[in-house]
Symmetry: D2
Subunit: 290 residues, 4 copies
């Protein structure tokens, strides 16, 4: 939970490797050796692929190794077990870019939750293909970048956006109902670092106008899905989903309205999980350590 | 709700017709004229197709028209508004046939809920392509019919089943995880009177092994869907759906286990709604008056 | 649903009376006589008290009686059945006053949902015992009134507030986490027209610091409750409730955070239901026609 | 999850102790030393009381220490960290006694889930103060004990019941809507080993007839709570809760019906969690490692 994380400086190690004996013992011994206090620890075995996943968070207040030397000290363990891993510190605040088009419900929701501390990280900038929400950005004191996009200018615009995101050291791109499909070049520039909100319960109703599709099919429940963006539209690893009931009384417009509430909540949860280093994507799925 | 329906004899009128003024006034006036007391009344306008739907339930304890004459007396109103309608009486108990294969969780659930009065109607017979649950039928005192099915014998078996269902005056066929696909001839013999439970959140994961499909896609929520059976597999009008959370920790087997609980509940709700004359199917959707 | 209400002018009749035959017939006949088109109609019988409740909404585009004469024309029916009733028109926008203290999550939520049209009515003014959210009011262009309150000044302050609310023709007072207990004089001035959000699943955890109480008791689910304010603290008729899961991992602060999301949603639903004339309070309960 | 546990023999260590550094390191090193493979590991810090909780489950297929010697080998670690702990093995099947009165919905549900393997353990016997369900016990092949209870005979009956439970080596007593309040002597004989289902969302509606209380208060949600039984009625540590929506349309009887479904599910979950050694009770709360 966010609230307690603020209290003391923490390190978070997020790793995956082929399953083997002794991983937990070695990792926890490493932390103990340098006088760390484990706060949370979760693990998962994927039996299909014999892969081991772990998230371990420890208090580094009294750690006898300075933060910048931890990685090197841990490296032998990582090599021994063939680990892929990330090591993050609670005093390094992730920088977020929020992409938005005309609808502002997800944008407002992220800004307010970030302001209240429910979602960590720093919303460093807002990007839009329209000027509609420039005043919202201004009110929250966040730089706003307007990039009009046409079919012709899109490749060039994307290059400029990538430059901006790199210049601003953006760690995570949040597509908060951004109505442009990102090209492969963009997606490759930020692998597993772009989160989208799709307004359906994927894999039902892929593509455009999912609420219209749901209305036509006569479903009794609608959903929203947040996922990492990959080159295949709406096919990336799912981070979070949620649903709400509808009935024959709900018109398409009613579904859109109910769906907005879902989209906000589901996107906010996914962003929080990513920012707190709780998500590991592998084989087009996610392991989420809550 | 079931509980109060038992108290006094009731009539239930379920109708649809082109939208027009005065329908509620005429129907309620009709009931009032013969001294009926309206207990529940619900209506719905489908704006797309300008269709009006209504369910009206009234106490006929003091009705001055005998039950068998109500239909004739109502006919002029039905003709005037071009209504399709059914008229049912609470003392006519619908007769149900439950079709089952090897899995017994839905069968047990229906039998127990029926015994407790949560689902009305009389479970008149159980049909299975296996003998596994003959003793369950026996214990509940319900006739059990064993119809082994092979590709070759299927047309003949279905004809025998249709004969049996007609002979036994079955009003509703419930496919309680019956693992045979019914042919067009069977479906046509019981239009909008066959309810199936599909073990996914339709339209996601149509067809075989939906939990395996869900596992592969890495969804965070799984579902179950009850629907009227039509000739197109898993495409019929949806009556009820529900969902439950899963995570990376859930294996396919775990999903199957969690799904069983969903399947039971969703099928039971759909059967109850149908038996209480609360469902109107139109244009491959349902209007459900709860 | 909100969306369709905007389309054509509507009247909404919300009534209760002793149960009797012919009520639906007479009311629907009345509407038909003057060429109204019934859009929604719901009813309820409370069997305990033999009380009949009804909400009926009709299109008055082609009504042959002008709006200001409907009440007089309906009066004989109301007298005949001893009805209590309200008659509202969709072109009369209810005026809301939002009371707030230091926490702004419910305030922001109401303002944004109102802006998006999800909650109807006009937020005519914001009242607070603190100046913290004056800039929020300003940004949304809503008059802000600061009333500092002390134990000594409270009676006088409440009189001023009542004057303000009357002068501004306020129809509904929304206590959006307003941390002052209103006196009997205030409550009596706006009977069934003050909605509060209590941050627990009432009747569990009445009074102060409900999340602390919930934490101490070790509950696995926390809730929020919106209710009409009566003279008895947290005892008024409940309009809406919702809950969310917690676990041993959640500190009091985590519960407060999760609770904020509940409070927003539950208060918003209650306000919407009231503004759309869907709530009838009787005997310290509510009938809610959704 | 149950399904995978059956595959290989497992040990489960469930412990609590004062918080300290090195606990995870020592415990995981202990398991690694004897060639165990950790399958699941969860931990929790209660910051209020500085208490550490842990559940660790490992595959003992290739463990180099025989099961009966593990306890002695682990003892030094337990002493060092002042641990309270239990050590269980998957091949030791817990023995359950189900107590029931007239209502059979929870009894049937437990029997069926146990038969399907969803709830582990062996239902070794059924106790009732009525003979109603003797045939159910017989059908499932489980010994049935009839203990009629009157105010006068209760102390003597309880002594006989305690004797029976001890003779049969019962590990867990499940009160499946058993309508007798157990005395202090009974409760003390099975500390933290009696699970009850209370038909309300505790702490709301303690005591008798909670659905009547809920109906009178006009709540919009009802619940069920499973908890360990202590000497104070309905005050023991909560293991699991769940809720469902009700409305003004629901009579007390409807709430009872809806509640039955909740009671079944909530009790089943609590029993499963206990049987899988996932629950630690402390300070009148529970830590539940799911």
């Amino acid at each position: 939970m966010t609230s307690s994380q603020a209290e003391t400086p923490r390190a978070v190690l997020l790793l995956s490797c082929p399953d083997a004996r002794g991983i937990v013992a070695e990792v926890s011994h490493f932390i103990y050796t340098y006088n760390g206090n484990i706060i949370h620890s979760s693990q998962h075995d994927d039996e299909q692929s014999s892969t081991f996943f772990m998230r371990i968070e420890w208090d580094i207040s009294d750690f006898t190794l300075p933060a910048e030397k931890i990685r090197a000290a841990f490296e032998p363990i990582a090599i021994k077990f063939e680990m892929s891993y990330t090591l993050e510190f609670s005093d390094q605040v992730p920088r977020l870019a929020v992409f938005v088009s005309r609808q502002d419900h997800c944008l407002f929701d992220l800004l307010l939750r970030n302001k209240e501390g429910e979602i960590g990280g720093e919303i460093a900038l807002i990007v839009s293909n329209h000027r509609d929400h420039e005043n919202v950005a201004e009110w929250f004191g966040i730089p706003f970048y307007h990039f009009p996009v046409t079919k012709e200018t899109k490749p060039e615009v994307e290059r400029e956006q990538i430059d901006l995101l790199r210049r601003e050291s953006i760690d995570l791109v949040v597509l908060a109902r951004y109505m442009q499909i990102l090209s492969g070049q963009f997606v490759e520039a930020f692998p597993k670092r772009i989160i989208n909100i799709h307004h359906s319960f994927l894999p039902a109703f892929v593509g455009a106008k999912p609420y219209h599709q749901a209305f036509e099919r006569g479903v009794k429940i609608i959903g929203a899905t947040s996922h990492y963006v990959t080159e295949n539209l709406d096919q990336g690893p799912i981070i979070e989903q949620d649903v709400t009931r509808v009935s024959h009384r709900d018109s398409v417009e009613d579904m859109v309205q109910k769906g907005k509430n879902l989209e906000k909540v589901v996107l906010a949860r996914a962003v929080r999980l990513h920012v707190e280093h709780r998500v590991l994507a592998y084989r087009n799925k996610t392991v989420v350590f809550e």
